[in-house]
Symmetry: C2
Subunit: 250 residues, 2 copies
DNA sequence: ATGCATTTGTTCGTATGTATC
DNA sequence: AGATACATACGAACAAATGCA
């Protein structure tokens, strides 16, 4: 009784095992960004597979943002420094395929930005406060030029706050979600009739947020940041979704 | 003067254009989940490329979780219903490659879970409240059995709250981040000496959170949920990272 | 339940454009 | 400018796996 316990087997593709090995080497650090992979011909020898299999593996690794290969490069594929490009890609397709509504995206962004402000108010350095000052100053001058310039400067402020939060994950996710939201409605905002009023109101709100961050009052900074984003975007969110956003304001 | 404005060109790979077309069809809805792609041989005719190129495109699409192909299937690759698998994958590699600390992950989870509770307290239906009741009951019985069972039941509660928040993005992200955190430290918790005390304390805390959700007090539910998670995980977070977590408690 | 036709997984050989030295 | 090594792309072929009659 009690013979050996067998486990169900799944046929694992050859290219998949190549991906695992290379991905493992990158995650383990034995293959650092900037380093080069062997050439495809060399890889087919090392893994004892054909050229096509090596290439399919490289395509998967490239899709995940881990390597990049160019024709003619004598050095083989390059190991890339990690960028949230893959994360961005999968969140973008999620937003499109899964029909994420603008309300959900804005609500999520309010949540992340609020947390970043809460943390930044406690942990920010003097240098980081100066960066935020500079970002708001840039918003003020950019508002005179164009909405695009203003939007870019606005991004700069939120990014400075996210950096000051000390949480890299928060920083990356705020960045990704923000770009998705902006892609969805930047043209709507750009053509809004009350665009100028919206921008100057936004600047005042950002100044209030920064004052709270400077004072070290995290809960206040968080609440003000949520309200700032709500005021800025609520006009573009369908009425039936606004209740959820208001629930985030307390 | 004023000749035509030329744009820099980048050579775009053949497989990349195939990916774009199929991906576009999926996102546009003209290729619904469950439907089948033409066979590889049919695709190489339609796109006028070789089979290797078709296969590289399919590998990329597969890596993004959009399709799945099995050997021998006469129906061609299957269009998959969207799952956050790709999102999970990219966040996991982010956590490993970018050296995300446990503190950052727990802080992020506190943020998401808190927002889910805030929204759920306002938007939950009676049915959803019953689901949360059932989840806590399951936690109570599971705690008598094993830590693994308890952990699974705990996931059930948080998932019920996330569903009740009405924000799919929040639901997906809480799920992804939670599984990453649990993968990092579940074995540590399982072997903790005060495991039983931790579990029963956690159940009491969850009951308090649920009471706040039932009462419709979002801010209270949010604060209690943050505290619950803090108490549960703080013992495993390095001391220097605890300040950031405490900043989230207010 | 058994073949059979078809498809995918994989291999090999070849031709072509390109980047580097 | 030329030689070399590389990636891109094509096409034919075989084995294993699948679905269907």
């Amino acid at each position: 009784m009690g013979g050996p316990r067998f486990e169900p087997v799944r046929t694992v593709r050859a290219y998949e095992r190549i991906v695992e090995q290379i991905e493992g080497a990158v995650e383990a650090g034995s293959l650092a960004p900037g380093q080069r992979l062997p050439s495809e011909r060399e890889l087919m020898v090392q893994f004892a597979v054909s050229r096509s299999t090596v290439r399919e593996a490289l395509r998967v690794l490239q899709a995940r943002g881990l390597v990049r290969s160019r024709p003619g490069d004598p050095n083989g594929a390059e190991v890339l420094p990690f960028t949230p490009a893959a994360l961005h890609k999968s969140l973008t397709t999620l937003a499109r395929v899964d029909q994420l509504s603008l309300g959900e995206l804005v609500g999520f962004r309010m949540t992340l930005d609020s947390a970043a402000n809460l943390l930044a108010a406690r942990l920010r350095t003097e240098t980081q406060l100066k960066e935020m000052d500079a970002a708001i100053a840039a918003m003020r001058t950019a508002a005179e030029i164009s909405y695009e310039a203003f939007s870019a400067a606005d991004v700069g402020f939120h990014d400075a706050v996210a950096r000051a939060s000390g949480n890299k994950l928060l920083q990356i996710c705020t960045d990704v979600v923000r770009s998705i939201v902006l892609n969805l409605i930047s043209e709507k905002i750009a053509s809004a009739p009350d665009r100028d009023a919206l921008m100057s109101q936004s600047i005042r709100h950002h100044e209030e947020v920064l004052a709270a961050v400077r004072a070290g009052d995290g809960p206040l900074a968080a609440r003000l940041s949520r309200r700032t984003m709500y005021e800025y975007y609520v006009g573009y969110v369908p009425a039936r979704e606004r209740e959820a956003l208001r629930a985030l304001l307390d």
